[in-house]
Symmetry: C2
Subunit: 473 residues, 2 copies
Amino acid sequence: MEIKEFLNNNNKDVVVVQGLGFVGAVMSIVVSNSSKKDYAVIGVDRKESIEIIDNINNGIFPIKSSDPKIEEYYQKSIKKGNFLATYDTSAYSYASVIIVDINLDVQKNSDSKGNLNSFNVDLNPFKNAIRTIGQNCKEDVLILVETTVPPGTCMKVVKPIIEEELRKRHLSLGKIKIGHSYERVMPGPEYINSIKNFYRVYSGIDKNSAQETEKFLKTIISTDEYPLTRLVNTNATEMAKVLENSYRAMNIAFAVEWSRYAEEAGVNLYEIVNAIRMRPTHSNLMYPGIGVGGYCLTKDPLLASWAKINHFDSNDSLEQSEKGVKINDKMPHYAFDFMKKVFDLESIINKKILLLGVSYRSDVGDTRYSPVEPFYLNCVNNKAIVETHDPYVQYWEEISLKVSQDLDEKLDMSWDIIVFSAAHSEYKDSKVISKISNMSNVKILDTLGILKKKDIVKLNKNNIVKVLGRGDI
Amino acid sequence: MEIKEFLNNNNKDVVVVQGLGFVGAVMSIVVSNSSKKDYAVIGVDRKESIEIIDNINNGIFPIKSSDPKIEEYYQKSIKKGNFLATYDTSAYSYASVIIVDINLDVQKNSDSKGNLNSFNVDLNPFKNAIRTIGQNCKEDVLILVETTVPPGTCMKVVKPIIEEELRKRHLSLGKIKIGHSYERVMPGPEYINSIKNFYRVYSGIDKNSAQETEKFLKTIISTDEYPLTRLVNTNATEMAKVLENSYRAMNIAFAVEWSRYAEEAGVNLYEIVNAIRMRPTHSNLMYPGIGVGGYCLTKDPLLASWAKINHFDSNDSLEQSEKGVKINDKMPHYAFDFMKKVFDLESIINKKILLLGVSYRSDVGDTRYSPVEPFYLNCVNNKAIVETHDPYVQYWEEISLKVSQDLDEKLDMSWDIIVFSAAHSEYKDSKVISKISNMSNVKILDTLGILKKKDIVKLNKNNIVKVLGRGDI
């Protein structure tokens, strides 16, 4: 369908979403299902993403999720006929609102042990995307940046590029509105709610921009229950996003450090964390695990640190926040070394290893920057025979690998080592534990502390169980 | 009064508290006021502390506090006649329970800029104190260690010393009970509650020790509302304590790092923190400030790190937790540099500076490791004329300085710089703000973000206000 045809016969406000990934695709169907205003939504992605675009237009939503609302919202948007996907950048010219949901990546230079030697932020792809908007948009459009950007980006990058392009087209510079409101999207069972029913922070490059951003967000988000918070400028909201993710990344790194201590001192870190969490001031203490994955926590502290020097001429980077990323990056490598050490394995050549779970999060099929990836690669590079299972992942894109969906079949085979590498509910099932406990001489590694006391007793009868962060077994 | 005389005519269980400092003195009156069991409490301190001992026995409690329950509990214990203080170590021989509340210090080697170059833990004073117990106690006493110790201490230090001394006295080794349950005492308005009405974690060197510890704690703490948590061994509870304080120290250090960023980027960190705190998972994010003080957060991560290597033969220390302490130690020095920078002061020679607050915590008179100390010393060493005020501190022991209690008098004098260095409620009073706003050409530094928007507007009329962590004013 052509854009003109799609927009024909309706006077709805047009919202264009730039980027149809994990955020943009879902944002699109949330906007198209607004109960407060009727929008016509056009999702724009690059020509290379033609498969996603075609799928959306042909009834197949590109993201599989355990949240039933995803499919429900998508089907409703089809019924309404108010959601189109395209790579045609002329879409921007119809928009009252353009939401920027593209990626902004960090290039990490790490060695094979996960040591982060250096990193860089290449703003060019982001700049080009913004330029495309500037070349096409109306002079009074609201550009709402949701992408996690290095602090300073809206003022120092987005605004000048848009103004430059408007100037080239002899358009007025005074009418443009640029807002920033970062998403807190959580793939998983609360996918839609993490957009629609959650707190939002926002700002604008000027008062009018902030007001228009607020007006728009109020039509999308349940702001009565989850009131909006306006910050004074876009630097502040940009910083808020990377700060909150840095905080989380650092707190996970903290758990890592103490996890090793617990192993050395013969204690159970999970038990300690539970005891401390009774204190209201310490209720957010994290558990240890195989590592940190996903698109945000693995890079946002670095984005922030990079901008401190490059956008604000600081002499020093965010040392502690960077350290969080560095520690977390090494977690899967540590988990691999831990496996060899606790099972007293000189070598894993030809060992048959089953990895239960490849996603970076429990009960979600998201393998972006999954910590299971370096763990898997370590196994393969050390010549083990590795197979993988994940109820939510059929194909592991990052390493081009088919992943089994058939747990029964996998548990009928014989293994030297079974690794719990994601905390999917399916793996905690008593039938699964029973099946594994009936094997013998299998080494079982729980990298996430998902095994309960009674599971461990059961599994330990014919096998050996070890748990990351537990020195007591 | 002699111990024998004190104990005469009563068959109460004797509880001896070793150490009459900020924890032990208050623990003593909590035990003597148990509603569940009648105890006779003897507080033992060293002969050097004779003044404290005499005061307690003569109706003067050594700790002043904003918590009215402190005086109330103390007076009740006098009335009951069940609390004696002494330096006579024979007290231990009468005890059914001995509570260890002495200090265990870290020796820091820092330069004049607050850089922590190295540190050490000298266990000898602690060992000697434990030995005194072993030389006097009954063979079946319960020794309850509340002191924050390097993980491993109960098993590797306390138990062997006690057993060695019992052996010398030809007593049985099988009957001794050693428990560990760390306090979470918070000097201030909730002083008593922080012992009596708060969660407790505990353990013992064996099952019997843990059970007896539990039995005793149940007579002291409101365990119905604040259930106890038993951990498997003393390593675990010892680790829990230092872990929870390391967590807090690190989170404060995190705020410091971002505070500087906020100053550079022209944003208000307090506003950002408030916005992020709306997220339940981020509700404990800390504010920045002049620094971290008090007895615990400034050393506990180092205790933990030291023990990792010295008690558990680890190859690496707790790098990230140590870093927290290191960053925090430099905060007051940074605050001093910030003052010079934002007020564009080449030198502060002969500048008249008023420090409002010298305590490390708001509404508490506790100057132990107060961050105001290095700030004050920096001012004095740079030849400023510095005066101090604090409603809760008459005499600043650590630097032997009289502190003014008369705010009106201080605010009638003329100043070049006024520094809000503690967040006491008194300083937030509108009358205080008015009085300062009527001055002129005063540089006002708020190191804790206590000034409200309207205060700043008011103060800025005739003066210049700057706030740590705020780049927006």
